[in-house]
Symmetry: D2
């Protein structure tokens, strides 16, 4: 079987594994108080060009969203998200479970428009009954988005400006940060990300690591006793070294971006082939995810040879599927896939 | 520096790493729906001698306690624990964070006595005001305990009997399950554990894995939609394979028990040496953890060469420290430590 | 000033107060275990024609929604509501605060359409990723709705049928139940309400009481240890008699319905007058609430003499306001209002 | 039957009811934005001699504890309480339900000793593992306590000093505040209470009101958007007037203290009689609650004529019971009770 269902079907980038093996028997302290985490943090701070940034390592994406959002929001506040945002749809209510409402805004291609955001915030404070409502206390966006789209730099700056006007933090879910930054049409760098938000995370799980996400606070805004909060969420890894070693490798010699670019290249190659074959795209985008509309019967046949992701029903007879590439995707696999399709 | 502070100072057992490398590029489904998890589950079920058991893999201990306890308790219930239990002391309020009260019972050497438990439960229902109180809905014990002690088989059976009499589940936190089962004085097997409780977990993090705990439900009692509940807790790993591969190795050729025994042997060797040197023990126990009472000045000197765990102040001039061995402890390191001390 | 802003601007119906005075010095047990509560429960059960129903008294509407929803939902579930539902908008996140997601469905005049509901539920289970989503575990509707509209009997039956098909309870927020049942165009009786849902509450606060809502479980479905759950929510009143006495009076000689009808009559009279004067209605409805669209300047002037409710901005120059009547509204006050307008 | 089981067996003080009747038809705004609440707040601020204090009205005691504690605590913190404190024992886990751990300290006659508190706090910060523990973020005491005892002024000042040293607020649960202040042996005034804590509540439910507690913040320390937080807890009463009117009356002409004194006088009279008859007291105290130890058979007989409160089993043959007086207790009822006993 060919796997194009997602970007977490294989293990870790070989360099990551190699370093885990090399460092395996070195004794260090637990809970992230080790030299590998320290080294990885330094490299990340250098990569984002902000020595004052503070970095924490967590294990997975939903966990990271839950910890960050719950730790930052004040008690009368909720988090604004596109109605297609991961926290609004596919985290099984993890945000609400810890007491916080997700405030959905209509998405445009998976993105929040800064005018819509401004209008939402203005309306909230104009509403004379807002004391009985959940205050917007944070804006959540994903980069790249759940639809594989990205915010361009001017869009990101606009969103951040609106957030600053209303004095609420902008949080970027970077589960696929590398794939977004290295998108064909991206004009956004890691430094741009760091500058134009208040907290974000660099996704490792989908980009070369076995597991792990690096949360970065860039505005001297780490929540009080954040390590205790992480523990309270059941999210503090004893062997923090596992995360430190991996991010150390990913941020050595630009590995993170190189493998992200590879995944995007593979996706572009795939999209080119699909276009030539006349496939119908559900959305236009230029990151590692590709969404196409397939006849249900054709889909069934395809699934005999390829593992793909069900995305949503398009209509009674057609289905939207996702084809994802990643750091591990081989060109020959793309060619096989194109041949099959 | 010598590390005797805990049992998570090194990476994973070499066999575990080796298998992670070997399987790295095999493509599989995410979220634990992979062949490695399936294989590991089969081996665990075989090891406990219960084909109907159901196994789930989680990442860490506090996370596991939070997920299991929150998923099992009914809404009017709390969880009974020794007042020294990990959930009662060192999980930063993770259980309460998700809405559940920990009901402490006085410990005896880190253990709950079944008569005390029975008395607690009887008193609760005798109390005419108990409708205004948190109902005891579960009993939590750790094996081995936070003090490195173990329950003997008759104690375990007694506890379980009391639980059954009051129709509440017994949950065993097995973060150090292997070290408990392989303790010098243990008369408890893995099968005994599985038979005499309702749910338990097999700790991987402290016994050979990079991370990972295997939750086992033995009484056809998996909570409804448990995978969704795990996700809601932010505890569902995308690359579930990471956990599956590790437990597959640990439960191949009894590796889990062999390395547990090694750790216990090292601890016995250490204790023998310490006894000969006249050290004062804080508690008598025969697992991988050793607790001794040291003069504060002597401790300071020791810490120049050895990393140890602060446990608690004994009095103004003395401190209780923990010396932990694990699967990775070398005999020569124990000898070095004894020489230093 | 004239008060038409809401239906809780005055105290209690005089009969209610009179009975509170009469019974004041009678000694009874606390927490609802008193003769007044017992008597009121009997009268309510008689009124709904179901001797097996179980009745509990709570203090306020948001509290009742929070307690009922949190107590009924299973841990993987959320509650479906119209996107205009009170729990989705004006309860400051009370439902999410206790861990449960509100799942919004697009409203039609404040109501959920049973086809939309069915489509929502079908889609959920058709979605291959629904294990990562919040399961719909309950349907919440309000009767009358936040827009003063009502469900007709066939609509109610359809909704309940869909719920039963998917085996989830239908919960009716009856903060304004009397005003809905006695609406000019209503074909729904209290018995219809009780039969066609699984749990509902009879609002007292807005219909003659100082405070108080009566929750009714009609399908042998009281949550386990419900009194303890109420206590856990901080919602158990020591002097439960206060609620019992009030509902006893309200359900004696049909007082609840008589005063509800009076409020509706006053609203009809008001609407007739407004129509004649050419006012623009925001929504057509026949309960005690009236929504009109006013020029902002006209509104300002009106507010010099009348207290009205801001509802929402209609556009830059116009505002939607609510004019509410209640059991206490005097005909002459309506006439004064019409004269002013 | 004679009722001595508690201090909430009757309705409200007649003056309170009278004023509710008088003001019943006056139209006012909802949610506490009315003249009655405003007036009551002024009177309370005058009574405590602090014009900058801020007052909020809530409905019941457990609700108040839940709202205040949850609103004040930071996310890594829990609340210290005597192990006999109401929040630690008889609130069905309401504090934990909203995510906060109760940190118990051994009581002495229902009270926390300031040295014990200091030792607790010192130990916490001395513990090198405290980052994995719940931080003490608040101290909760009740005045009078669950055992009917009171803190003397020097004890209160000592506790507050320790709290200030560790920069955590002291919160006083005043469900029975009047009965404590007016205790025979009390040297504490309402002003002393207000000065020597950071937030407290004046209990109405047990002292003359139908329901209602007045929360007072005295150190310019109202939580951000507190009204929204109250709403989020489901604790915001629509007809806030109900609470305002009652506290207005209670704080007119010292009614609150006069009726509190009456209750204490009745209890003293009762205790004198019981002493003469040779009854064994479970605890010595001088407020409105009396705790005696009775043979179980004698208790059974007593219960044929008197409603008393079960407190706890003393041993196999004896039971501790509570006899409570209140504002409504008649001298002749005490005499009847003494005759029966």
């Amino acid at each position: 079987m060919l796997y194009f269902s997602n970007d977490y079907s294989q293990g870790a980038h070989p360099e990551v594994l190699k370093r885990l093996v090399e460092t395996n028997m070195i004794s260090v302290n637990g809970y992230g108080e080790d030299i590998f985490c320290a080294e990885a943090k330094e490299k990340i701070k250098k990569a984002i060009g902000n020595q004052k940034a503070e970095v924490f390592f967590l294990v997975g994406g939903t966990q990271t969203n839950q910890v960050v959002i719950n730790s930052i929001l004040q008690k009368h506040q909720g988090v604004i998200s596109a109605d297609t945002g991961h926290i609004a749809t596919h985290e099984a209510g993890a945000i609400e479970f810890t007491g916080n409402k997700v405030l959905p805004i209509k998405h445009i291609n998976g993105k929040i428009n800064s005018n819509d955001l401004k209008e939402y915030l203005k309306s909230f404070y104009d509403d004379e009954n807002h004391e009985h409502m959940v205050y917007p206390g944070m804006v959540y966006i994903s980069f790249s988005t759940e639809y594989g789209t990205i915010y361009y730099k001017d869009e990101l700056v606009s969103l951040h400006n609106v957030c600053q006007e209303y004095q609420i933090p902008l949080y970027i879910d970077g589960a696929r940060l590398g794939y977004g930054i290295m998108a064909e049409d991206s004009d956004v760098t890691l430094k741009d990300i760091a500058e134009n938000c208040d907290v974000f995370y660099i996704g490792g799980t989908k980009i070369g690591a076995l597991c792990g996400e690096a949360v970065v606070f860039t505005k001297n805004n780490v929540p009080v006793c954040f390590t205790t909060l992480i523990k309270k969420h059941g999210a503090l890894l004893s062997k923090g070294r596992l995360l430190g070693v991996q991010f150390d490798v990913l941020f050595t010699d630009d590995l993170y971006f190189k493998i992200s670019k590879h995944a995007v290249d593979m996706a572009s190659y795939l999209r080119k082939g699909l276009k030539e074959k006349g496939y119908k795209f559900f959305i236009e985008n230029k990151t590692n995810q590709t969404f196409i509309i397939l006849d249900n019967e054709k889909l069934k046949k395809l699934q005999e040879k390829v593992v793909v992701s069900f995305w949503e029903k398009y209509d009674e007879n057609q289905t939207v599927i996702r084809l994802a590439t990643c750091w591990a995707t081989q060109k020959e696999d793309v060619e096989k896939l194109l041949k099959i399709m």
